[in-house]
């Protein structure tokens, strides 16, 4: 398989004590495409995410990210905040992690921390209130406003994030991740807990992020209607290893995938087979 890969995961290993959560996993994500990582519960998907986004240090293997300008970054060597700051990888969390006591707008302002930090001359210029800082702040508010509008939360900009309904919080978290202007957006179960209408809206949002911003997306998802509808490429994991990959269509018909889901959870297996048909 050839193509323009933004992310290459190469024989990734992750051990916790004696337990192997991810075992020699290799896959790639194409630039400006949506790649879905699916698998039964406990397959190790979130662990892979945590390795990519620097929350875990992999026990082995390599994770390479290639930017548009050809700059290559080895994610397994970066950790913590540098993944977002230098490698431009943003993420959301399975159980939403907003700043609940801050307003929606403030949440998006925090996301622009590094750009604003530079603009405020590491606080000194900002403390003096220089015009260049005020300009930068205005631009940041404009960017935040744009994203609030994109996710349909403009009228709730001044409400506390913790007061928003669940679906709004999910979208706000995506908007917040996009405010870091990432090259790769990693979404951990973005459709979890959403109703059918909300999840339809999510599909549109993600497609528009791919088409308009040109951001590559990697997502973990259980909701097969989301996976089947918007993914360009699907990677299936079970017990820490890859068992299949390909187009949504190909994966859905793969007997190994069906077996994995049947073995794990009958309802999920039926959902896999029925959705998209």
């Amino acid at each position: 398989m050839s193509g323009d890969h933004i992310l290459t995961v190469d024989r990734l290993m992750m051990r916790f004590g004696g337990i192997v959560a991810v075992n020699e996993l290799s896959f790639t994500a194409e630039r400006r495409k949506i790649t879905a990582l699916i698998g039964p519960n406990g397959a190790g998907k979130t662990t892979v995410f945590n390795c990519i986004t620097g929350f875990y240090r992999p026990s082995g293997g390599a994770i390479r990210l290639v930017h548009d300008d050809g700059r290559m970054i080895q994610l397994e060597r970066l950790n913590d905040f540098r993944i977002s700051k230098q490698a431009k990888v943003a993420r959301t969390f399975q159980n939403i992690r907003l700043f609940p006591g801050m307003t929606a707008l403030e949440n998006l302002m925090v996301a622009q921390h590094n750009a604003l930090m530079r603009a405020s001359g590491l606080t000194v210029l900002g403390l003096l209130g220089l015009p260049s800082w005020r300009e930068a702040e205005k631009r940041a508010i404009d960017l935040a406003r744009t994203w609030l509008d994109r996710v349909g939360l403009l009228d709730r900009a001044d409400d506390a994030a913790g007061n928003l309904p669940y679906g709004d919080q999910r979208r706000l978290e995506i908007a917040r991740a996009m405010c870091t202007e990432p090259a790769l957006l990693c979404l951990d179960e973005p459709a979890a807990g959403l109703n059918a209408r909300e999840s339809g809206g999510l599909n549109e949002l993600l497609l528009s992020i791919r088409n308009e911003q040109g951001t590559s997306i990697l997502l973990i998802e259980h909701d097969m209607s989301v996976v089947m509808e918007i993914s360009d490429h699907v990677v299936v994991m079970d017990y820490g290893v890859k068992i299949a990959e390909g187009t949504p269509q190909a994966v859905r018909d793969d007997p190994k995938v069906i077996a994995a889901y049947l073995g794990a959870d009958e309802e999920e297996a039926i959902a896999v087979m029925e959705s998209g048909t």
């Binding site: 993944i83 992690r97 907003l98 609940p100 006591g101 925090v110 405020s120 209130g129 900009a157 001044d158």
Partner: protein
């Protein structure tokens, strides 16, 4: 853990006089056992070095009786008050009145503060007390950066206060540097110590951070006590120069301010000067804090308090963010310490005990974690309340401790229960503190 979960249903509370009596009896019985030896018998080292004792059964009986009566009253009050929701023990109308008052309270308070030396010019005691209150307002605002904004629990704040005080005292007495040169130095040194401590310990979370900062505060105090050649040990440093008004001393001499202005000298001049000095320093602290909150660094502090993991995912360097919060708070503590030294003219390790840290922390928490106005009000209440018990010197800390426990039970989120956003598009609406996190570091 949310405040709303797992509260026992109020309807299940039994009532009736038999129940009240039984409860009061049990309380009295518990009190009897608790106090039997501690109150009933008083020990003292006798004249020959041995131990003597005498009984105080009258006091014991009175105390147990008080507990019995108090228990009945509390229980009656509780039933009369009805089953109350702990979070809204203050009725809604009062709360909204409070938030309305908040809008003009701050300016009114500020104007009044400016006028204090005019109104109370002849009352030394009030001026002295106001200076003390303002010192704690400043300390509270300084610690608020660390605890209220960044959500880092610091139990050793007094260490930075001590570093500031000793920096000024030692630089002034040994090298003859003036207050205005030493003030920034004291702040910088305190901030430096803040970074030095912060660097290794800020990885720790929650209670661990609290206990390490406490230990650090104690280490600083013990070093001050034992490093006698530098600090004078338990005897402290005396003869610390009083501040000058930009070089003009406030003394009765010919080159003093009074002589220069051609007015009669009065010791109150210096007091008034000190008052405006600490007021200016406190207001500077406040201004810088308000300013910082609206800058990326301040937002990062608050975001850190809300969710550290999310901060890391957004590319925020949490270590440096915490360090700046720690250093900023420490710097303000250092300034306040330098002021304390110049005001007292004498400092000793006794002024920098853990109780001092606890007092400032209580001011911040009672103020409502992050609210500038709340901290100022809390400082006023705490120090004012402390003064009320001046006559009962021994009982002061006892009452303070009880007040801390009761205040926490009554208002765990402090006096001002909301947070003002730092930026808004259309509506500047306050956020209920039930949503605001308190940090885990």
């Amino acid at each position: 853990m949310s405040a709303t979960s797992a509260r026992p249903s109020p309807a299940a509370q039994p009532s009736g006089s038999a129940f009240i009596l039984k409860k009061a009896l049990i309380s009295a019985l518990v009190a009897l056992v608790l106090f039997s030896l501690m109150i009933g018998i008083r020990t003292e080292a006798g004249p020959q070095g041995g131990l003597i004792y005498w009984t105080r059964f009258g006091d014991l009986a009175a105390l147990v009786g008080t507990v019995f009566g108090g228990s009945i009253i509390v229980e009656l009050l509780r039933q009369w008050w009805g089953p109350v929701d702990k979070d809204s023990i203050v009725p809604k109308p009062v709360q909204s009145a409070f938030s309305f008052a908040g809008r003009w309270l701050a300016p009114a308070l500020l104007v009044f503060t400016f006028l204090v030396p005019v109104i109370f010019y002849n009352q030394r005691y009030i001026l002295d007390l106001s200076i003390l209150v303002l010192t704690y307002v400043m300390l509270g605002w300084g610690l608020n950066v660390v605890v209220g904004l960044a959500g880092l629990l610091d139990l050793g704040y007094v260490a930075f206060y001590a570093v500031g005080a000793y920096s000024y005292a030692l630089l002034a007495t040994n090298f003859g540097l003036s207050f205005w040169v030493c003030l920034p130095l004291a702040g910088i040194l305190a901030a430096f110590w803040g970074v030095l401590l912060g660097f290794p310990v800020l990885r720790l979370r929650g209670d661990y951070l609290a206990i390490v900062t406490l230990a650090f505060g104690e280490i600083i105090r013990l070093v001050i006590i034992n490093w006698q050649s530098l600090t004078g040990g338990p005897n402290g440093v005396s003869g610390i120069p009083r501040p000058t008004m930009f070089g003009i001393p406030l003394t009765p001499g010919d080159d003093g301010l009074a002589a220069k202005l051609g007015i009669e000298f009065s010791p109150t001049h210096r007091l008034v000067f000190l008052f405006y000095l600490i007021l200016a320093m406190a207001l500077l602290t406040n201004w810088v804090t308000i300013r910082l909150r609206r800058l990326p660094i301040g937002r990062a502090w608050e975001a850190l308090r809300e969710d550290e993991v999310a901060c890391r995912a957004l590319g925020i360097n949490t270590t440096t963010t915490k360090l700046t919060a720690f250093a900023t708070g420490a710097m303000f503590g250092g300034f306040a310490g330098a002021f304390f030294a110049t005001r007292q003219g004498f400092i000793s390790p006794e002024s920098f005990t853990f109780q001092e840290s606890a007092l400032v922390l209580a001011i911040v928490v009672l103020g409502g974690m992050g609210s500038q106005l709340g901290v100022a009000l809390a400082a006023l209440c705490m120090i004012g309340g402390f003064e009320l018990f001046r006559g009962l010197d021994q009982y002061r800390m006892l009452v303070f401790g009880m007040a801390m426990v009761l205040l926490m039970i009554w208002r765990p989120r402090g006096l001002v229960g909301h947070r003002a956003p730092t930026v808004f598009l259309e509506r500047n609406q306050a956020i209920s503190s039930d949503l605001v996190k308190e940090g885990h570091g």
